[in-house]
């Protein structure tokens, strides 16, 4: 992850001369924004504001499955549908009109192994990656969860046996008499 971060150049500063400078990225840096401001982003995307994708996998019903469906959902529009200018037909997007042009195409990124370079495989990778950015502590959470649940389960059994043991002597130590 560190090597990946270093491959990006990040603007930092100002330094003690008051100038901004470029340095290699660190894992704690944010992704460099593709647009300087919201207006530029809208202008480049047919008037729509592209959302921040940091937690997008948690911000949509269906999560990563939804993202996969949008990425693979670009199809030719049904003959009778009126599209707004600059919009693209998408089977998964609400309303079926999305401003984002198809971001993936077969063969645009080579894999290091012989995985097929298809939109389908790319879409799986992108949605898995976005789930990771939305929930980077998920693996840690599950690992700890196993231990906590096993502990509580054993604890519950012990508590149940202790409760049985304590209540076993209730009629002897505290007889339920009418007196």
């Amino acid at each position: 992850m560190k090597a990946l971060a270093e491959s990006a150049q990040v603007t930092d500063g100002p330094n003690d001369k008051g100038e901004m400078f470029k340095r290699p990225g660190r894992p704690s840096d944010r992704f460099p924004a593709p647009f300087p401001n919201e207006e530029a982003a809208r202008a480049a995307n047919g008037g729509s504001h592209p959302p921040d994708l940091s937690v997008i996998a948690k911000a949509r019903e269906g999560g990563p499955d939804y993202i996969y469906s949008v990425l693979t959902g670009y199809k030719d529009k049904p003959g009778d549908m009126e599209m707004a200018p600059g919009m693209h037909y998408n089977t998964a997007f609400p309303g079926h009109q999305i401003a984002m042009p198809p971001p993936l195409a077969d063969g645009v990124v080579p894999y290091t192994d012989d995985t097929e370079q298809t939109v389908d495989n790319y879409a799986k990778d992108v949605s898995a990656f976005l789930m990771w950015t939305a929930e980077p502590k998920l693996e840690q959470r599950h690992m700890l969860g196993h231990r906590v649940i096993i502990f509580l389960f054993v604890f519950a059994i012990i508590m149940f046996l202790a409760k049985k043991a304590v209540w076993k002597r209730v009629n002897k130590d505290h007889p339920p008499t009418e007196a």
């Binding site: 959470r141 969860g145 339920p176």
Partner: protein
């Protein structure tokens, strides 16, 4: 309260302290010796569970508040900062968020238990009313807490709920609008609204803790109700709180925490709404604004009534009516176990609340709206008509003579225990 203390300090320091501030004597009397009916079932364990819920919320909440920033520009990002960069931040936040839901699960079970066994009836009216007050404070606190991440649902829930007060314009023109602007601290929901919601969200849990103490005090005056609803008559009807109920409550608590943490670790967002991971945008209304699940029945009642002011009155009335339950119920018998007719109405009421919860998440139109209106009608009818009338006309089943008698008897149907001949003397 209710019994003499046998506390004997064992050390010199203990005796010295006991003469000056007998706090250990009080704790010993109230949480060790405290005579508790020997027949309490597992529905009675939720009181202790609720104390733990409150403690979890306060402890996680205080640490979260050290990292959270209450400002419209920073709130959403500071929550993500907690999730990513604060040590154990994700655990604290998910425990706090799931904890709120589990708190309501427990408080609703606790309330329905009180309703079923008539725990609100004399001499426990104050105890019940303090409980309703705690429920009300919890609702307000949870609502404010939900606003703090400043996501889309946070923002629009605040907008919708605070706007309810504008319905007062229908009574005195201008009053509602002025009130809403006073609550907002401006002409729209914004920074001043967020900071005051945060301040009050931090304050109210301690108010709740105070009322909880009064609630426990009011409980320890008459002592616990029990599944038979019959008063404690002899020492033999009770057992000391410790170890019998500390261990029973403890076991129930561990099972509760098992469910609690299974959700925290494996499905922390299950009870939340995806829209709240979208930062608040005052210019874009979400297509479907819904509150958290624990408010859905009340939300359904609000929307069932076409008139805004009446809807708001029904919403508040749905809570307020609980305060009057001790006087609405005219039955001479506490426990619904011995009330053959009321029992049906009670379970229908539980179903009604579940149905309203489901309807609260649907669009208020067509069949959903009609069902919401029927559900609302039954909700209020249950308290205003069924409770008083069934109490008067119903013939309760015969009850055992005492708690001891009900414990000693084999699990006989209650209608046979009235006949002394059919009752075994001593089992075991």
């Amino acid at each position: 309260m209710g019994h003499a203390s046998t506390y004997e300090p064992k050390t010199k320091l203990g005796m010295w302290f006991d003469e000056r501030l007998p706090v250990a004597r009080m704790m010993h009397g109230q949480f060790v010796e405290y005579p508790t009916p020997r027949n309490l079932n597992y529905w009675w364990t939720f009181g202790g569970i609720l104390v733990v819920c409150l403690a979890i919320q306060i402890v996680t909440g205080i640490v979260l508040a050290m990292h959270y920033i209450a400002s419209p520009d920073e709130a959403f990002n500071s929550v993500e900062f907690i999730m990513r960069d604060v040590n154990w931040g994700w655990f604290l936040r998910y425990t706090h968020a799931v904890g709120a839901s589990m708190f309501f699960v427990a408080v609703y079970i606790h309330t329905f238990r009180g309703l079923y066994y008539g725990s609100y009836k004399a001499p426990r009216e104050i105890l019940w009313m303090l409980g309703v007050l705690i429920l009300l404070l919890m609702i307000i606190t949870a609502f404010m807490g939900y606003s703090l991440p400043w996501g889309q649902m946070s923002f629009w829930a605040v907008t919708v709920i605070t706007n309810l007060f504008s319905s007062l314009d229908m009574v005195v023109p201008g009053l509602g609008t002025s009130l809403v602007q006073w609550i907002w601290g401006g002409y729209s929901v914004g920074g001043p609204t967020l900071t005051r919601l945060f301040a009050l969200h931090y304050l109210l849990p301690f108010v709740i803790a105070g009322v909880v103490m009064l609630h426990i005090w009011a409980l320890h005056m008459p002592g616990n109700n029990n599944p038979t609803g019959i008063d404690v008559k002899t020492r033999g009807d009770t057992v000391p709180f410790h170890p019998y109920y500390t261990i029973k409550d403890g076991f129930a608590l561990v099972v509760f925490l098992l469910v609690f943490f299974a959700i925290v670790f494996y499905a922390p967002n299950w009870l939340g709404h995806p829209d709240n991971y979208v930062p608040a945008d005052p210019l874009q209304t979400p297509p479907h604004i819904v509150p958290e699940w624990y408010f859905l029945p009340f939300y359904a009642i609000l929307r069932a009534i076409p008139n805004k002011l009446l809807g708001v009155i029904a919403l508040f009335g749905a809570i307020a009516i609980l305060f009057f339950v001790p006087w609405l119920d005219r039955s001479k018998v506490r426990s619904t176990s011995y009330r053959p007719i009321f029992r049906w109405f009670f379970w229908l009421f539980v179903l009604d609340c579940l149905m309203l919860g489901y309807l609260g998440a649907q669009m208020p139109e067509g069949i959903y709206l009609i069902l919401s209106q029927l559900g609302t009608l039954y909700y209020f009818g249950f308290f205003l008509l069924i409770m008083p009338l069934v109490g008067i006309f119903e013939t309760p089943r015969p009850r055992p003579g005492s708690i001891t008698e009900s414990v000693l008897g084999r699990p006989l149907p209650p209608d046979r225990t009235a006949n002394p001949a059919a009752r075994p003397e001593v089992v075991k």
